[in-house]
């Protein structure tokens, strides 16, 4: 009895398996061709994602550093760069220095406190009258002339010049 069931089972399994032939199988690519496309697609997506993340990080870094830099730059720009808006925009906080700095040229601003404090009346007359002419072009190029010792000596020599006149 057991042998009969086993033989029947063996025959039935062989008959069922024999129905499956190579012609009935659908076309499937080999695993090497079928599996390559998926990792490549994944790697492309990974490359795109990494590139997008890098671009975003660079953008955020640029925005953050860009917003941090203009804060210190903006106060510094009106001083040396734009001479016209500086006196108009800041007459209230720097009242006395701006009055003395406005007639002088932009290049001589660094030496103004030194030269103005010792000889206030002499320099005013000296720098205002001839400084606007040809000496104004020579003054920015030679900074030692506007320094404290050099500026005071021509002032003292100025009375010497007047007798020669």
């Amino acid at each position: 009895m057991t042998d009969e069931v086993e033989s029947r089972l063996r025959d039935a399994l062989a008959a069922r398996a024999g129905q499956i032939t190579a012609e009935r199988l659908r076309f499937e690519p080999p695993p090497t061709a079928a599996a390559v496309s998926v990792p490549v697609r994944r790697r492309w997506w990974a490359a795109i994602a990494i590139g997008t993340a890098a671009a975003g990080a660079a953008l955020i870094f640029t925005v953050l550093t860009g917003s941090a830099e203009p804060a210190p730059v903006l106060p510094a720009d009106p001083g040396p760069g734009t001479s016209a808006p500086a006196p108009a925009a800041s007459p209230v906080p720097t009242g006395p220095p701006s009055v003395e700095a406005s007639p002088a040229s932009a290049a001589a601003t660094s030496s103004e406190p030194v030269a103005s404090t010792p000889t206030a009346p002499g320099i005013r007359s000296k720098t205002s009258a001839p400084g606007t002419g040809p000496k104004a072009s020579a003054a920015p190029g030679s900074e030692p002339e506007t320094s404290a010792p050099a500026a005071t000596k021509p002032v003292t020599a100025a009375p010497g010049v007047t007798p020669a006149r």
């Binding site: 069931v5 399994l13 008959a15 398996a17 129905q19 090497t32 599996a35 492309w44």
Partner: protein
Amino acid sequence: MISAPPFPALFAWLRGLSADVRAAGRGAPPAGAPAINELYHSRRLSLVRLAVLLVDDLPTAEDVVQDVFTALYRRHGPDLRGVTDPNAYLVTAVTNAARSALRRRRTARAYVAPPPETNPAAEDEAMLGENDREMMRALRGLTVRQRQVLVLRYWSELSEGEIADTLRVSRGTVKSTAHRALSILRERLGER
């Protein structure tokens, strides 16, 4: 003058990426892939037959076999590195995948009506003799484990030890499962 790339690993990765894209565009397998391709062409039909005996319908059996080969390629590469016995590996993988497919189908049947293609095609049924159809119907009423044991034993002609290794159970379990399955078949076929 071309200077050295600042990120050699990045450039190597990009070169590999472009090479893979070229290979995929040509539809040609990468170099050194014939091992798994030869195995695929030589063993696919017999594995589909084994899967058909386990899951009944041909489309599911083809899906099972294709998934097994794809997983084998992804895990062990085209040269099948680390696989000592590819045939035994494939039989085990197909058996497990068929079991998973039957489990999913059983879960789906609990919620929706079974699709018509999960049963053998009508012409396949008609081509079988009456005794074979009766036996296949009785076989379908067994549990998955009992069916696996009987198919591996009476169609794949595996020994009890090989079946035990394939199913990762003890030989005693194989023996008792086969005995119980044959008893059930005997009862059902004797009733008719």
